[in-house]
Amino acid sequence: MAVCVAVIGKDNSPLYIGGIGSDTGSDSELSRQWLVHTALDALEERLSSANSNNTAPNATTPRPDLRDLYLGLLYSTDMHKIYGFVTNTRIKFVLVTSSTSPSGSNIRDAEVRTALRRLHALYADAICNPFHLPGEQIISQKFDKQVKNLMLNNV
């Protein structure tokens, strides 16, 4: 389903970036990082417009429920669609799907929402580790495995 999942900290620095796919070369991994990085712009825009009372009418998916952590599609490129999710502590999750893959092109919003919610749960589990310092990069192999699974599971 997803080709890349990123966890981004409060200060917009990446805490975890995991990608899967046939193209696991460093080149494509980098290109995914660019995608995630620029997604932050759209994400922040979404957050600020959600915070201000007059939600911009041009937002493609207006958020009726402010408590909804799922931000929907942030933006898309020829090849990818980028979805966002933000926790109450401003930890951002970014999920990138590939429009070219059969599973990625057909994805429904609800599926992405579920996946991101599950990611949130995984993240919460990972940072419950008392040896993990909040704000540090997540190096847990278990988390990595679970996230990779999450990405693949929905394929």
């Binding site: 980098l30 990085h37 932050l40 825009e45 041009n58 429009s99 059969p102 057909n106 310092l133």
Partner: protein, 1179 residues
């Protein structure tokens, strides 16, 4: 939605509701024009079924003649007449009955056959004044018709109207009613028709999985609904229809991935031959629609058509931003679909189409936004469009070989350009501005125009992104631009973009991206032949942990190569940020052995630094700059006083205690200035508040019956002070300036291994004061100088003290006091401080008068000034110079003698004062003894020195002035007398031999004696003591005699005796009036009567005056006689008040030698008192 935008104003709008007219066609022709004009003039409320909200819509109508043969099926919404009207102006009932009725009946039958229920019968009357005057018209033709054809539900469908052509004024009301009715019935008809149509449509849609089902047909079918809704002004609902179709289509295409594709989809798999720009107008692009109907449309044609229609609806709704945002998703979807369907197309066709779509959308947005206040809303969506347009253009440029740096286009590429241009078709005529199609065609023609267009788009996209605050996107474009410029040869511009991007990535911790950008930068630097930057970046890349080790090693070698090749022989260094290649772990000042840092000694700092290089690097010089603390007092010299030798307190103060005291000073001072000696860089980071332990307390709550109610864990959230978030994180880092390294901790030539290195830096302190550690500098391979900014602002530092030279004047035997008149062994102790003592240094000693000094060696004389050369010595060495010191004895008998030695050292500006306390060796006391007129002088010598000293005395002498002589009464043949401080005294006695005839004037006498300390072989010194003897001549002699009372032979206790007192003048004196006082011991004597009295001595009489007193001894035994004191009696002088202030008489004592009391030592034997019986009566 009113006025100019009403459907009537739009060209090509062909979907007006069709109304047929039957009956009198000629009559209708006269009414058609006003009717067509009147219908759209007002809105009408459209009540809709299925609970859909009522809408107010504007209607139009087109009228055709009723054709009984050509009644369309209800499945075509557009071509089918929706409403039918029968017109007649028959007023004659007879005529109606005969002819008209048949006609009407036929019309009704016709309608009935087709199931049409939407009709109306209009009777046009001519205004007749007579008729209206009648109260009730009997029956009109209308009534007749109504009666014949109408039922209750359809009664309102029969209407009479006054012909407005013939009598305009009267007709207005009926005319208005007619128009309203027409509108109303049209809508009713539509409602019915739409319900039916929707049902049909739904039916069709359900069949979509049939192999025979055709999307194109269905599309045209559903589009009718959209047209009708559009015509009714319900653009939103029309858009919904298109969106439904869009979704349906997308789903089909996407499903081809999973399942077998239906047959109709093959239509869209046909080769793409045209990729014209979408035209965003409200017009229906009929050519494309034709293609769809004919099943000739390619996927691009279909998508173009759909997007244009969707945009048309949005244009009508004035939502250009929505078009913009839909454009991108459409473009993305279309390209995905194109790939999925595998439709054949020239390479670049899709890019062309996408680029044009984006550019057209932008143009449309601009056009609309400028007339509406929607610029702001558009800008936000324009940026991604521009971005996409730019990307697509780049793609095209790449295909056609137009990118800078690429070789000239091949013939195939040129051919491709032609193909692509052809596929774009012609741009719309009559345009002043070049259309996107024109621009794209132009851009594909030449490299320069391509470049111009590309840069325009990129700059515009970047600017727009920046404007809407999407800085990351802007930087992404910046990177693209950098690559473009770099290819163009304008590497300088590229570097600017890359640096900007690099900084932002670094700031936010995107290390991979930063590493990638650095690789791009280093390539740019190489291109620019910017050696400094290239070397620096190579070093940084070599230190980037995110990159693979091979890459790092390569750039490490590049760096070394660059240093070897380009910097060889050059004496320049390149300043770099330390953090890029090294990590400071800690800096610790090594405490000095002495506890404090002192001048001319090493200050050492242990710097722990982590090298990120993949291999060893040579650090030619590691240094930490040192800054003096300005706010500190510069003069750290300990006050002079502490150098003073305090000889009273147990001799000298030792160096050790002196230092200790100073260290304690240091510690207090350093507390004041808050200088710390060690720092770990981790400590500088603000502490993560999340790591603070939670203050959790557990509580057990009990119920009244002492059973546990609940156990709680409570966490009291303490009010954590809100701190300003680290805003400098996003601040542009200021370029590190190189501190002054005039004074610095330094270490030369270290090899820094990958990983943690510990380097000890040294600094020889030459000034005292407080210093702060500043900047760290590592000079790598003689070329790269890494500068930190880490230690600035912290308070790592040290204090340097000068340990000056200490000079003490010490006693050799510290326990013994200094004694004047004896030579003492002293020593001058010179302790060199932190600095060595140089050659030819000397100390000048000056003494106060009476104190002499000499060096031990040789027989140099004692002087009051002495220059002592100090031998050169290393730091913290002690030199002792022995000295002899002699303080002359002063004749005055003071307890101690104060002397001072001034030490003039070259190190100090002022002379150091050493106070010395000398005790006199002996103390002289003398007494004048009298025996009648003979006088004796007794001299007693006593030593008061605290420690034991013994002197042997010889040759005592007493010299008197004038003509007085003394006779020596001292034994001549004895050995030296000894006087010692253990209490041994020596006494000498001389008799004053005086001529009794000479009046005893005051006399000066000098006692002298030679002394030498016992058990030494020092030559004896002379001790002399002058004194004055005054009033030594005996003037009066007092004699006392005790006689028992008459009649008794002995003195008895408690019996009154007679004391005979005689005063005799023996020498001349002016004192004639004398007073005597009997001073009896009250325990032994009781004086009865007067104890004192005044007597007057005759001047020329040598006879004594006798006084008798009654005294009584109180005890028995040998009792000394009562003493008598004789004083000068000066009577009250009333005559001369000047002399005596007091009018009372007064007494003046005589000097001890003037009155000789002959009976002073006499004793009388007093018997015990008489028996008791004799005594009792007397008591």
């Amino acid at each position: 939605m009113k006025g100019e935008n009403s459907p009537a104003n739009r060209e090509g709008m062909t979907n007006k509701p069709i109304i047929t007219c039957a009956g009198d066609w000629n009559l209708f022709c006269t009414l058609e024009a006003p009717l067509v004009a009147a219908i759209p003039q007002d809105s009408c409320e459209w009540r809709r079924s299925y609970g859909r909200p009522p809408k107010s819509v504007y209607l139009e109508a087109s009228f055709i003649k009723f054709n009984k043969d050509k009644v369309q099926t209800e499945l075509n919404l557009l071509k089918r007449p929706i409403f039918h009207i029968y017109w007649t102006d028959c007023v004659d009932i007879e005529y109606y009955k005969t002819t008209l009725r048949e006609d009407v009946e036929a019309w009704f039958k016709q309608l009935e056959r087709n199931g049409i229920t939407d009709w109306m019968v209009v009777l046009v009357e001519t205004y007749d004044i007579r008729k209206t005057n009648k109260l009730l018209p009997r029956t009109t033709v209308l009534d007749k018709i109504k009666g014949d054809f109408g039922i209750k539900q359809t009664e309102e469908r029969f209407l009479s109207v006054i012909n407005p052509i013939k009598s305009e004024a009267r007709s207005a009301e009926s005319w208005r009613a007619l128009v309203a009715k027409v509108r109303h019935f049209i809508l009713v008809a539509y409602n019915k028709a739409l319900i039916k149509f929707e049902e049909h449509m739904r039916e069709q849609r359900e069949k979509r999985n049939d192999p025979e089902w055709d999307f194109c047909k269905y599309f045209i079918l559903q589009e009718q609904l959209a047209f009708v809704l559009e015509m009714l002004g319900l653009y939103e609902e029309a858009l919904v229809q298109y969106d439904e179709l869009d979704a349906l289509f997308s789903q089909f295409v996407l499903n081809t991935n999973v399942t077998e594709s239906p047959k109709w989809l093959e239509t869209f798999m046909q080769p793409v031959t045209a990729w014209q720009a979408v035209r965003l107008t409200v017009l229906v692009p009929q050519n494309l629609r034709e293609l769809i109907i004919k099943k000739k449309a390619s996927i691009l044609d279909f998508r173009s058509y759909l997007f244009q229609r969707q945009s048309a609806m949005l244009l009508l709704m004035f939502k250009p931003w929505e078009i913009a945002s839909r454009c991108l998703s459409t473009v993305h979807n279309t390209i995905v679909e194109l790939n999925l369907l595998g439709a054949n197309a020239v390479e670049g066709a899709s890019a062309c189409w996408a680029q044009l779509a984006c550019a057209e959308t932008l143009r449309a947005c601009e056009r609309l936004a400028s007339s509406n206040n929607a610029i702001e809303m558009c800008t936000a969506t324009q940026a991604p469009l521009l971005h996409n347009a730019k990307d697509k253009l780049h793609e095209l440029g790449k295909l056609c070989g137009l990118l800078p740096g690429s070789p000239d286009p091949t013939s195939e590429q040129l051919h491709l350009v032609v193909m692509l241009s052809a596929g774009m078709g012609d741009s719309e005529p009559n345009n002043q501005h070049p259309t996107p199609t024109d621009r794209l065609k132009e851009a594909l023609c030449s490299k320069t125009s391509f470049q111009q267009y590309y840069l325009e788009l990129a700059e515009l996209a970047m600017g727009t992104y920046k404007h809407i605050g999407r800085l990351r996107f802007a930087r992404l474009i910046g990177r693209d631009l950098a690559a473009f410029y770099s290819e163009l040869g304008e590497t300088g511009k590229a570097v600017v973009f890359l640096m900007d991007a690099l900084r932002s990535y670094e700031e936010q911790g995107w290390w991979d991206l930063a590493a990638q950008t650095r690789l791009e930068l280093v390539a740019a630097a190489k291109k620019m032949n910017d050696v400094d930057r290239y070397t620096k970046l190579s070093a940084t890349i070599a230190c980037t942990a995110e990159l693979e080790i091979l890459v790092r090693n390569f750039y490490y070698e590049e760096m070394m190569k660059s240093i070897r090749m380009d910097f060889k022989g050059k004496n320049v260094t390149v300043l770099t940020e330390l953090n890029e290649c090294f990590k400071l772990v800690s800096a610790t000042l090594v405490p000095s052995d002495r506890g404090i840092y002192i001048t001319d000694h090493k200050v050492q700092c242990c710097l722990v630094v982590e090298s990120l290089f993949p291999k060893d690097v040579r650090c030619n010089r590691a240094a930490i700059s040192i800054e003096p603390c300005t706010e500190d007092r510069t003069d750290k010299k300990t006050p002079v006083k502490s150098y003073k030798t305090d000889l009273n307190v147990n001799g000298s103060v030792s160096t050790q205690t002196n230092l200790q005291r100073k260290t304690s000073d240091v510690s207090t001072e350093s507390n004041v200035s808050n200088v710390i000696s060690s720092i770990r860089l981790d400590d500088l980071k603000p502490k993560n508040p999340l790591l603070n332990p939670l203050k959790i307390t557990s509580k057990l709550l009990y119920k009244e019956d002492k059973t546990l109610q609940k156990a709680t864990l409570e966490y009291h959230n303490p009010k954590v002070p809100i701190k300003r978030s680290d805003s400098n994180k996003y601040r542009k880092p200021s370029a590190t300036t190189r501190n002054s390294y005039n004074i610095c901790l330094v270490r030369d030539d270290v090899v820094l291994k990958p990983g943690t290195n510990e380097v000890t830096l040294e600094y020889i302190a030459d000034k005292c004061g407080t210093f702060k550690v500043g900047q760290v500098s590592l000079l790598i391979e003689s070329t790269l100088e890494y500068l930190s900014n880490a230690l600035i602002g912290t308070k790592v530092g040290f204090e340097v003290h000068t340990q000056g030279v200490n000079v003490y004047l010490n006693k050799v035997e510290p326990k013994k006091d200094l004694v004047a008149g004896l030579e003492h062994a002293m020593e001058l102790v010179v302790t060199s401080g932190s600095s060595p003592i140089k050659e030819n240094t000397s100390i000048l000693l000056k003494t106060s008068s009476g104190l002499l000094i000499r060096t031990v060696d040789g027989d140099c004389p004692m002087t009051r000034e002495l220059t002592i050369p100090v031998p050169p010595s290393k730091p913290f060495e002690t030199t002792t110079v022995p000295l002899r010191l002699f303080a002359s004895v002063q004749p005055k008998r003071e307890k101690s003698i104060e002397h001072t030695v001034w030490l003039n050292c070259p190190w100090w500006d002022t002379a150091t004062e050493v106070p010395l306390h000398f005790s006199p060796p002996m103390v002289v006391s003398w007494r004048l003894l009298t025996s009648n007129a003979r006088k004796f002088v007794q001299v007693t010598l006593k030593s008061t020195v605290a420690h034991l000293v013994q002197f042997a005395l010889s040759d005592p002498s007493l010299q008197c002035d004038g003509n007085n002589t003394v006779s020596d009464l001292n034994p001549k043949n004895v050995k030296d007398m000894i006087v010692a401080s253990d209490g041994t005294t020596a006494s000498f006695m001389w008799e004053l031999l005086k001529d009794p005839l000479v009046k005893g004037a005051p006399m000066k006498a000098t006692f002298a004696v030679k002394y030498r300390p016992l058990k030494t072989d020092e030559p004896p010194r002379t001790f002399s003591c002058p004194f004055d003897i005054q009033d030594y001549t005996t003037l009066f002699v007092i004699r006392t005699q005790l006689e028992p009372t008459k009649g008794s032979d002995f003195c008895r206790a408690s019996q009154v005796c007679c004391l005979q007192l005689t005063v005799q003048r023996v020498n001349e004196t002016e004192h004639t009036s004398l007073m005597y006082e009997v001073l009896a011991d009250p325990t032994t004597w009781a004086v009865l009567g007067r104890t004192a009295g005044v007597i007057t001595m005759e001047t020329n009489c040598t006879e004594g005056q006798a006084v008798t007193l009654d005294v009584m001894p109180l005890v028995a035994g040998f009792l000394p006689l009562p003493t008598v004191r004789l004083s000068k009696y000066i009577a009250a002088n009333t005559k001369d008040p000047k002399k005596d202030i007091s009018a009372h008489p007064r007494l003046e004592p005589f000097s001890p030698g003037q009155v000789y009391h002959a009976g002073k030592a006499k004793q009388v034997h007093v018997l015990p008192s008489a028996p008791k019986e004799h005594l009792e009566p007397t008591v």
